[in-house]
């Protein structure tokens, strides 16, 4: 196997002491930067790029450092998501569903351990995928056109029924809110502004960070104020830190399925971790959630999106390096770094620069190992942070969130928007509207709309184009099945037993 020997060569690169050191530093810096709600690794990477240029270290070492930061920050983000319910990325919104519930039940430690283990699992599975299929997948990804993307989005939207909680109607309304927020800004297809009301600052659309920090973090502060005022404690202390062997067995297949799914979704240019984690969560909910415990602190509800997200990040290296398509803001910065280091993404990159490609793949794996080694011992420390007095912890987190929002556009206007979303989020919680579907609509809405419009523009208005390929038809069948089969099963189950 050619790829395997290349990968071995890659490990030889990644295991050089300097590269090991850089991977460790990257993961460490990334974890701490990622913990800051909504800040993300972009700033840290953008600062380190010129330093790596100046230091004159070889390109693969520079990339190892930068991707270490990327990985570390993803994990760091799940720490603040799970413990404090302030998701900084769309995929973390899914993790928050069960992760923060676990924290509320005093199981923050196991939730964090699960996130670390599932991430490691996702990284491991996807690295095998990379070795086995990389050149093949680069070909396959190119064939995935607008019609296929549209079908994938419809399939992804079927995740709504898992996110909506007990009322599909309210879930639909939340999604619609997300869709409307997604349309704000300049429409790329017709060059007209939508819902900007003459505000220049809205022309680029609603920023994801502003919406999530508002809906989740600010409304959380309001809710905590309410609870503290009513005299009940907010967050539980901590108990056990690690997960048990039984829990590991319990989530093993979930992690495996999530990793495989995440990897393939990640390979699609421009799709990425968000879709992967939404799909993994809803798929698992349908397959394994017989007792209806998803959304109430089920360990598998943390494992599925974390494994998928991490696997997708590895898979996304294929379109990034062979097509030059970044799947997220951070990979866009990585792409910029690549160009600056004199590396041109293209199909030849794997063959012409095997040291770089496989060195990076191997170092991503090494990064995952470091993440596990570094973070399992630290889980207890992070969880203990919850014992800080609430009057200090919550305002502190709020201040960090404000900086994140301000940093998006360097403007106070976004802070006003954020506060408005905070009040809205609080009202939605009171009226039992689920918040996660808003993010589903906000993130997937534009992808759905754009790809439908692209497909129709390409076909010249012929609707049949949407069902023109085997891949598209398969995705449609999966979408329809996932929308119709669970209710039928549920009805049958309800007839059998009287529970729920």
């Amino acid at each position: 196997m050619d790829a395997l020997s290349h990968l071995m060569g890659g490990f030889a690169v990644a295991l050089q002491p300097i590269n090991l050191g850089l991977a460790f530093v990257g993961v460490l810096v990334g974890t701490f930067v990622g913990m800051l709600p909504g800040i993300g690794p972009i700033n840290a990477i953008a600062i380190l790029i010129p330093i790596t240029f100046a230091a004159g270290i070889p390109p693969e070492s520079a990339l190892i450092l930068l991707s270490g930061i990327y990985y570390g920050s993803q994990y760091g983000n799940s720490i603040s998501t799970i413990l404090l319910n302030v998701p900084g990325t769309a995929s973390a919104v899914v993790t928050a569903l069960d992760g923060h519930e676990m924290t509320k039940q005093g199981r923050g430690g196991p939730a964090l351990a699960t996130a670390a283990i599932a991430s490691f699992f996702g990284g491991t599975i996807s690295i095998f995928g990379l070795v086995l299929f990389a050149p093949l997948l680069a070909q396959w990804a190119v064939r995935f056109g607008p019609a296929e993307y549209f079908a994938l989005m419809i399939f992804a939207f079927s995740a709504l029924s898992s996110l909506a909680g007990d009322s599909l109607l309210r879930g639909l309304a939340s999604t619609a809110l997300g869709l409307l927020l997604a349309t704000v800004g300049l429409d790329p297809n017709s060059a007209i502004p939508r819902y900007t009301f003459g505000q220049l600052k809205l022309l680029d659309g609603m920023d994801f960070v502003v919406v999530t920090i508002g809906l989740f973090a600010v409304s959380e502060v309001l809710q905590l104020l309410e609870r503290t005022g009513a005299g009940s404690a907010a967050l539980q202390g901590y108990g056990r830190v690690m997960i048990s062997a039984r829990e590991f067995a319990h989530m093993f297949w979930t992690m495996l399925r999530g990793s495989v799914l995440g990897f393939f979704v990640g390979v699609l240019p421009g799709a990425g971790g968000t879709i992967a984690s939404f799909l993994a969560y809803s798929t698992e909910q349908r397959i394994v959630d017989r007792e209806g415990t998803f959304g109430t602190g089920d360990i598998r509800g943390v494992a599925a999106p974390e494994a998928a997200n991490n696997a997708a990040a590895t898979g996304a290296m294929i379109p990034l390096l062979t097509l030059g398509v970044p799947g997220s803001g951070t990979t866009a910065v990585l792409l910029g770094a690549l160009l600056g280091l004199g590396i041109t993404p293209g199909p030849l990159l794997i063959t012409e620069e095997p040291d770089l490609f496989w060195g990076l793949a191997a170092s991503m794996y090494v990064g995952n190992v470091f993440l596990l080694l570094l973070n399992l011992p630290l889980v207890g420390v992070f969880v203990r942070a919850l014992r800080l007095p609430q009057w200090f912890l919550i305002p502190g987190v709020a201040a960090l969130s404000f900086v994140a929002v301000y940093a998006v556009n360097q403007s106070g206007f976004d802070l006003v928007l954020m506060t408005a979303f905070g009040v809205l989020g609080y009202l939605m919680r009171k009226l039992r509207f689920p918040l996660a579907p808003v993010i589903l609509g906000l993130v997937l809405g534009p992808l759905m709309e754009k790809n439908l419009r692209r497909a129709m523009a390409l076909s010249g208005g012929e609707w049949a184009v949407l069902f023109d390929s085997p891949v598209a038809i398969t995705l449609w069948i999966m979408a329809i099945a996932s929308l119709t089969i669970p209710p039928i099963l549920a009805r049958r189950g309800a007839r059998g037993s009287a529970t729920r």
């Binding site: 309210r170 104020l225 919550i394 006003v416 039992r432």
Partner: protein, 151 residues
């Protein structure tokens, strides 16, 4: 739990959602273009979302399901106070600068969470200082110094 007052807020919410949906739909109808690169156009998705709003809002207004329990007035006032502090922060950041504004908002919020003002504002000032150094020097994120002090 289902007293009349709480059901009423669900009905009001339903009506608000319907109105929002109608407004969004009406605004979407103004997205007229003379030029378009695709046959679908910019109206379709907003109209779909607006229709869901109207439908969901109507059902909610006609058939409230859960009812809402609002916090008592004393707590509501405290929450309103924090919202006001956030808005003030948005406005004060540019003129007063990061340090002053952050100390004020974090201190206020800590007080609302029950800390003694002396501790609240002391901790807030320390936090603001630490954040300033962390963000400006650590992450290269420019934070406002404050127009009032630099003029």
């Amino acid at each position: 739990m289902k007293d009349r007052r709480s059901e009423r807020s669900e009905r009001i919410a339903g009506v608000v959602i319907v109105v929002a949906g109608l407004a969004a739909g009406a605004e979407a109808m103004t997205f007229d273009v003379f030029f378009m690169v695709d046959p679908i156009g910019p109206k379709a998705l907003p109209l779909l979302a607006a229709a869901i709003f109207v439908l969901a809002g109507t059902i909610l207004a006609l058939r409230p399901q859960h009812g809402v329990i609002w916090p008592e007035r004393r707590i509501l006032l405290r929450m309103a106070g924090s919202v006001a502090a956030f808005l003030a922060y948005a406005g004060a950041l540019a003129p007063l600068g990061f340090f002053t504004a952050t100390t004020a908002v974090v201190g206020t919020l800590s007080t609302l969470f029950g800390a003694r003002p002396r501790y609240a504002f002391g901790a807030a000032a320390a936090l603001a200082t630490a954040m300033w150094f962390g963000f400006v020097y650590g992450l290269g994120l420019p934070l406002p110094i404050g127009d009032l002090w630099t003029r």
